[in-house]
């Protein structure tokens, strides 16, 4: 019979996990996944966008398990995502096909097709609505049927109106104010399948931006328009809507009409106009517009706008500003990476600390005599 190690760690972990579960359950109520899906749209959209995984129910599950902590929920979904084999790749999506629910332009009052305000918090007053404290399902039903009745008057009409709109930017292209933009059919790199190398391609940049942590993407974009950057943007068009997704027949190379429609994802798309000076003959300069692009899962307008700003700033590297430096931006905005590395500081570091201690002690004992004699010799 020899000595055996104390299983301190194992027991401590088990007890810690029990504690965590009790924190989630101790008020005796259980949060229903359906309720999360129904009532926490903003959080679900944010989590889906940062996870790069579009699945409202799984997002709701992650939010429940994470007790509403978005960094933890994103982490859960990302870890799940990395075990999923890629069975299909979707057909190329044309964003003109978005079934628009909301669409605005800050550049033109009158855009072809008109501005469509849709659902937005932009014009709500941020006053706490205390009546929601006791909102009943009955009241909700009543409100809904009244609302549907009102829409009902227009239902025939709204079905006739096509929900797709022409792009504001196409209008500007026809005017010759933006350079025409050809199709780039280069297969995009998948940053979750191949690690990023620099200089990065635009497809890689856009992917990392769209999965970036909302707060981080917003802060950097804010810095770059506030002064630590050189971007002066105007929203050409922002749209929120449902984007239909198709895949081709898995075995047959068929015509387009043989494609399978597999559903829709809700997205926010931003095309940002940024004026730039373009040099012409004899040093003459013209003002032209360049486009920054943002696209996120769900209704994440601030993030999509920020993404379009950073897309532009990374297309124009400028060492004076970190927001124009691709390594600075792309390496630091990922939620799982940044929160992981920051939180790893909680892990024990006593070997490294012991080693540091040894170095510090060494410097105290190494007398500076050595050095003094050196100077004397040289003089």
């Amino acid at each position: 019979m020899g000595y055996v190690a104390v299983k301190g760690g194992t027991i401590a972990i088990e007890e810690s996990i029990n504690r965590l579960t009790s924190e989630r359950l101790q008020k005796g109520l259980v949060l229903d996944i359906k309720n999360i899906e129904a009532g926490l749209r903003g959080l679900i959209d944010q989590v889906m966008s940062e996870s790069s995984l579009y699945h409202e129910t799984l997002a709701a599950l992650a939010i429940k398990q994470a007790e509403g902590n978005p960094e933890e929920a994103v982490f859960l979904l990302r870890a799940y995502r990395s075990t999923l084999p890629r069975k299909h790749y979707s057909k190329v999506i044309e964003s003109e096909e978005i079934k628009v629910e909301r669409r605005i332009s800050a550049s033109f009052k009158d855009i072809p097709g008109g501005q469509l305000l849709g659902a937005t918090t932009d014009y709500t007053h941020r006053l706490l609505n205390f009546s929601l404290m006791n909102e009943s399902e009955k009241e909700a039903q009543e409100w809904l049927s009244k609302f549907n009745e009102e829409i009902g008057h227009n239902s025939e009409k709204s079905e006739i109106i096509s929900l797709t709109f022409p792009k504001v930017l196409d209008y500007l292209r026809e005017e010759g104010l933006i350079a025409p933009c050809g199709n780039n059919d280069v297969e995009p790199h998948d940053v979750t399948r191949k690690s990023l190398e620099f200089p990065s391609s635009r497809s890689e940049r856009l992917q990392i931006l769209t999965r970036g942590q909302t707060g981080a993407v917003t802060s950097l974009a804010y810095a770059s328009i506030r002064g630590y950057g050189a971007v002066h943007p105007t929203v050409g068009e922002l749209r929120v809507g449902q984007l239909p997704i198709h895949i081709s027949h898995p075995f047959e190379l068929g015509e387009e009409e043989d494609d399978y429609y597999i559903g829709e994802v809700k997205v926010t798309e931003v095309e940002m106009l940024i004026p730039v000076a373009v040099e012409r003959e004899y040093g003459e300069k013209d003002l032209d517009f360049e486009v920054g692009y943002g696209l996120c899962f769900g209704q994440n307008e601030t993030k999509a706008i920020s993404m379009s700003i950073l897309d532009y700033s990374l297309e124009h590297p400028n060492h004076a500003f970190p927001s124009h430096n691709e390594e600075f931006v792309l390496y630091h905005i990922d939620s799982v990476e940044s929160t992981g590395f920051i939180s790893h500081l909680k892990m024990p570091h006593y070997v490294t600390f012991q080693s540091k201690l040894d170095s510090v002690r060494k410097t105290k004992t190494t007398s500076k005599k050595d050095e003094v004699s050196m100077v004397e010799q040289s003089l």
């Binding site: 190690a5 194992t10 084999p85 992981g340 920051i342 790893h344 024990p348 410097t363 190494t366 500076k368």
Partner: protein, 284 residues
């Protein structure tokens, strides 16, 4: 065993891809091979690089040992072991010599490794030149051109300022006279164990998405100057209070009763084996 996931968590395609990067790393000792690091069920920075290597390599007949800061029972080591066992059914051991696969954070075990073993080290910052040059694009060029004056310059500055090199853990090494490599934050004491090590050493950085390797019997030299040789941590006149060992890396602890510091083996399983050996000898 958790059947909701594939054996060893990953789909087979992912495992093959990580193994391909690993093979490349073994073929170019000390060179950081980029790989498509996956998000793992444990935190980025908590050993995801090592874990991905372990999961891509592990088979049903492997015997696994996981240590964190020298201890098998450290919470993070336990957590990693639990995840691997849950998804593979593989049994873990604490005996270094029984293990075929050892995942470790910040230590190389005291028991010399054998050619049947693979050591996987977790790496937070794989780039030895990172604090000299923040840009990845630039450091990649420096490695390509074998331009390592920055690494030596950092050490030179330490000597100028403090009269001695003041690196703690993660003292850079030159691998097979070609690549300067971060050995991961192992104490300097462990650097020498890498040189001509019989086991394959793999280093994985999950967040930074790099894999690199020291293949068996590879030359590994800690950076130093002709007149300022490399030195490991010194535990002169110190020994482990439990097993008496004086040739190992020791943890310094404070005896609250007498208010003095004492020392214990950092490698807990080694210490335990030493005590048991002594006990057996005593019985005889």
């Amino acid at each position: 065993m958790n059947k909701a996931y594939n054996f060893a968590f990953f789909d087979e395609g992912s495992k093959r891809e990580i193994r391909r990067a690993t093979l490349k790393a073994i073929a170019i000792p000390g060179y950081q091979v980029p790989f498509a690091s996956r998000e793992m069920p444990i935190g980025r920075g908590w050993g995801t690089g090592g874990l991905q290597l372990t999961l891509s390599l592990i088979g049903k007949n492997d015997v696994l040992k996981v240590i964190d800061q020298g201890s098998d029972e450290s919470v993070n080591a336990v957590s990693i072991k639990k995840l691997v066992s849950d998804t593979t059914g593989v049994v873990a051991t604490e005996h270094t010599c029984d293990a075929t696969l050892i995942q470790s954070r910040h230590r190389i075990p005291e028991v010399p490794l054998t050619k049947e073993q693979i050591l996987v080290l977790q790496v937070p910052i794989p780039e030895p030149l990172r604090f000299f040059e923040p840009s990845e694009h630039e450091t990649k060029k420096l490695h390509a051109e074998k331009e390592y004056s920055g690494a030596w310059l950092m050490l030179f500055e330490q000597i100028m300022n403090y009269g001695t090199m003041t690196t703690d853990a993660d003292h850079p090494v030159m691998v097979q006279d070609r690549y300067v490599m971060a050995p991961s934050p192992i104490p300097r004491f462990d650097n020498t164990k890498m040189d001509h090590c019989k086991a394959l050493i793999l280093l994985g950085a999950g967040r930074e998405k790099k894999v690199y390797a020291v293949p068996p019997y590879t030359k590994v030299v800690s950076l130093a100057f002709d007149d300022y040789p490399f030195k490991g941590e010194s535990f002169e006149n110190k020994h482990c209070r439990l097993c008496g060992a004086d040739d190992v890396f020791l943890d310094e602890l404070i005896d609250e009763e007498i208010g003095e510091s004492y020392y214990l083996c950092n490698d807990t399983s080694y210490c335990l084996e030493m005590i048991n050996e002594k006990k057996l000898a005593g019985v005889k």
